[in-house]
């Protein structure tokens, strides 16, 4: 019985490679690719000593979808739908980054109204993303109810987005120089109402979860990412702000019209999971206030540029579009060789950098903490694997 076991259970290539660096007689455990708390198909190989993790190594590529390669075979507009699938939780931010880059290549002016629409929808999308993260994180921590509440609210926001984009998740809404559809009154009223509604829900979240003693003890003081470590790994987004750095592209290099709005960049100095949690909770409120401001000052006008080239063939050159996504800085570098297909597209996905520090953070911590840290980083796996 035992001999069978020893011969059969050799693991795969990655575990064997991992084993080489392991101490004698420790437990080598695969967490993922199919594991409830890796949110998709991230795989982490752990070296365990009892409840403690001695070493962790993420293995990537289980949803590699050739996103960058596809950029080289599809035309500029044909590549648009791909963007919604890189990070399906904040699809519009990726849309935006891509159209930003291509607009720069094409030297396109975006009409005023389209900019406002982009801001409104993108922030709405950010809220849905954070709500989902909130629920999923609590699920990781073992609470089953919050995700239901979070999803119920998220559904409302998704219904709103569906009014204008027609889809629920993988939007393909921004087009070069504008957006594909104008806002409808239904959307505007609905959004106003949603903002009011969510403001009544957020205190409930606070009561149910944020203030909960068990949660506090679970997330307080774990997964500390000091500023220098964050910088080293190129961490961005709420994770960076949770480390006490007020960095937000919407404020630092204001793209689009973000400089017209009055909003805060929440940041907490504790660098732990709780700080990251609170950053996101605060960010939802800030997004709400941005949406409200944008809707109040929404100008009239067209949503697509007056004259659009029939075939999009940007001149030779390269451009970089960067926006602040729900997970951090989304960057798209497009190189054009003057044809209708890009020469090369490079995606800079925030989750990738955010994950990369996991190995260092998780050394010597408890298994349960690793799960909670992983959750607090808010990873979207297809964004990592691209």
């Amino acid at each position: 019985m035992l001999h069978y076991a020893q011969e059969q259970l050799q693991g795969d290539y990655y575990t064997r490679a991992f084993q080489a660096g392991a101490q004698e007689d420790t437990l080598i455990l695969n967490m993922g690719p199919q594991h409830p708390s890796t949110h998709g198909v991230l795989r982490i190989i752990l070296e365990l000593h009892g409840e403690y993790i001695l070493r962790a190594e993420p293995v990537l590529g289980y949803v590699h979808r050739m996103q960058e390669k596809m950029g080289e075979v599809k035309t500029y507009p044909q590549y648009l739908p791909n963007m919604g699938r890189v990070d399906y939780l904040h699809a519009l931010a990726w849309n935006w980054a891509y159209v930003l880059a291509v607009e720069e290549l094409l030297q396109l002016e975006v009409p005023e109204r389209a900019e406002y629409i982009r801001v409104i929808t993108c922030e709405l999308n950010r809220i849905t993303s954070h709500l989902l993260w909130w629920g999923a994180y609590l699920l990781d921590l073992g609470a089953f109810t919050p995700i239901m509440y979070g999803f119920a609210d998220r559904e409302r926001a998704m219904d709103l987005l569906q009014i204008i984009t027609g889809s629920r998740l993988t939007y393909c809404y921004y087009s070069f120089g504008g957006v594909t559809a104008d806002l409808t009154p239904q959307f505007i009223d609905g959004t106003k109402e949603f903002c009011k509604y969510l403001r009544t829900r957020l205190p409930m979240y606070k009561d149910l979860v944020t203030d909960n003693m068990i949660l506090r003890h679970r997330v307080d003081d774990i997964g500390i990412i000091p500023v220098d470590m964050a910088r080293r790994y190129g961490v961005t987004g709420p994770n960076l702000r949770g480390s006490g750095v007020e960095h937000d592209l919407r404020r630092n290099t204001p793209y689009s019209i973000y400089d017209r709005f009055d909003f805060e960049i929440p940041a907490y100095e504790e660098c732990d999971a709780l700080a990251r949690y609170l950053v996101r909770m605060d960010e939802m409120e800030e997004s709400l206030s941005i949406i409200e401001q944008a809707i109040d000052s929404l100008p009239e006008g067209p949503v697509t540029p007056p004259k659009m080239p029939k075939v999009i063939k940007p001149p030779k050159g390269e451009a970089y579009g960067a926006v602040e996504g729900a997970r951090g800085v989304i960057g798209i570098h497009v190189i054009s060789d003057g044809t209708a297909t890009p020469y090369r597209i490079k995606l800079r996905s925030p989750s990738f950098s955010n994950l990369s520090l996991f190995a260092e953070v998780s050394e010597g911590i408890l298994l349960a903490d690793a799960v909670s840290i992983l959750g607090s980083l808010d990873l979207v796996i297809p964004e990592i694997d691209r």
């Binding site: 076991a5 455990l29 594991h35 365990l48 609470a143 089953f144 119920a152 679970r218």
Partner: protein, 321 residues
């Protein structure tokens, strides 16, 4: 031959208790999902049978119709004995519980001890299950289960002991008789601390959220029963529910006046209290996040155990006064 009446008594008790557990198990599964649904503002099981009442039946039948799997590396004997061992003592636990003034399986002077002794077997079953599955998650889950169950057993014993010291008996019926029909005559009034300790420990002993670490989904996939399929898994599940009923029954007997109640005493009061407790347990589960393993142990060793000792001390002094 006057053997017959006693034998019939036992047989009836056995049948009644089996029915009680079977029925309550099904109802509890349904209730849990229904309550969870309502807390989350959805109906829960709804379409299968009226109000989804046939849902647990469908689940049970489905589990029976599911293949039993054993990993090749697992030790067959131990692997199959674990779910059996987990469930076997369940009936016995109900033997000495007084459900009503007359409704009791059998009077036994050491009733309390009997329940404590045989409920301890569950830990062994979990440990065997985790060890014999040859699965790393199971093993971790089993280690957690044992560390947790045994840790919480101590304050639980101490809390129960306080009641024993107060009344000088381990006979459950006697303990119920010592209490009165009105809520202020219940033990929970004289021993509130013991009740709280008992309740927390009981939740932890049954591996219920927020103490459900041995089967913590987000960490250990399914914990010690990761490898068990079909009815083997179902037995663990059923045993877990049965233990929930047992601990609620014992809590009712020890602290909540058993079948006493304002107006007519009887079985219904008992059932009402038991279900009230179960509802609280379910409510807790769907409200809180899970505690971490070290916190779990620390709550026990650093809070509950000293408190239980103090409580016992106070009881000792009060009894003498």
């Amino acid at each position: 031959m006057n053997i017959a009446p006693e034998l019939i008594h036992i047989a009836v008790a056995l049948a009644a208790i089996a029915a009680f557990i079977g029925l309550n198990g099904l109802v509890l599964v349904w209730l849990e999902r229904k309550v969870a649904g309502h807390i989350q503002r959805r109906p829960g099981p709804y379409e299968v049978g009226p109000w989804g009442l046939l849902q647990p039946v469908a689940d049970a039948v489905k589990l029976v119709g599911k293949q039993l799997v054993r990993p090749k590396v697992a030790d067959p004997w131990l692997y199959w004995s674990a779910p059996l061992l987990s469930f076997t003592p369940v009936f016995l636990l109900f033997l000495t519980i007084p459900f009503g003034p007359r409704l009791i399986g059998m009077e036994f002077n050491l009733g309390l001890l009997l329940i404590l002794a045989f409920s301890g077997l569950n830990v062994l079953a979990l440990c065997l299950a985790g060890w014999s599955s040859a699965n790393k998650y199971s093993l971790l889950g089993a280690a957690r289960a044992v560390a947790q169950s045994i840790a919480y057993e101590i304050p639980l014993l101490l809390a129960v002991l306080a009641i024993a010291f107060q009344f000088g008996t381990l006979n459950l019926s006697t303990i119920v008789h010592h209490q009165g029909p009105m809520p202020w005559q219940w033990n929970v009034m004289t021993q509130p601390l013991a009740f709280i300790i008992y309740f927390i420990c009981a939740v932890a002993e049954t591996n219920r959220a927020p103490f459900d670490l041995p089967e913590a989904e987000s960490e250990l996939t399914a914990g010690f029963h990761t490898e068990y399929s079909g009815m083997a898994f179902g037995l663990f599940f059923l045993a877990e529910y049965a233990y929930i009923i047992v601990i609620s029954c014992v809590a009712t007997v020890l602290f909540l006046g058993g079948w006493h109640g304002p107006g007519a005493p009887g079985f219904w009061w008992f059932l009402l209290k038991v279900y009230a407790l179960i509802m609280v347990i379910i409510w807790l589960r769907w409200t809180y996040p899970r505690v971490r393993f070290d916190q779990l142990l620390n709550i026990n060793w650093k809070w509950l155990l000293p408190l239980a000792l103090v409580n016992l001390l106070l009881t000792l002094i009060f009894v003498k006064m």
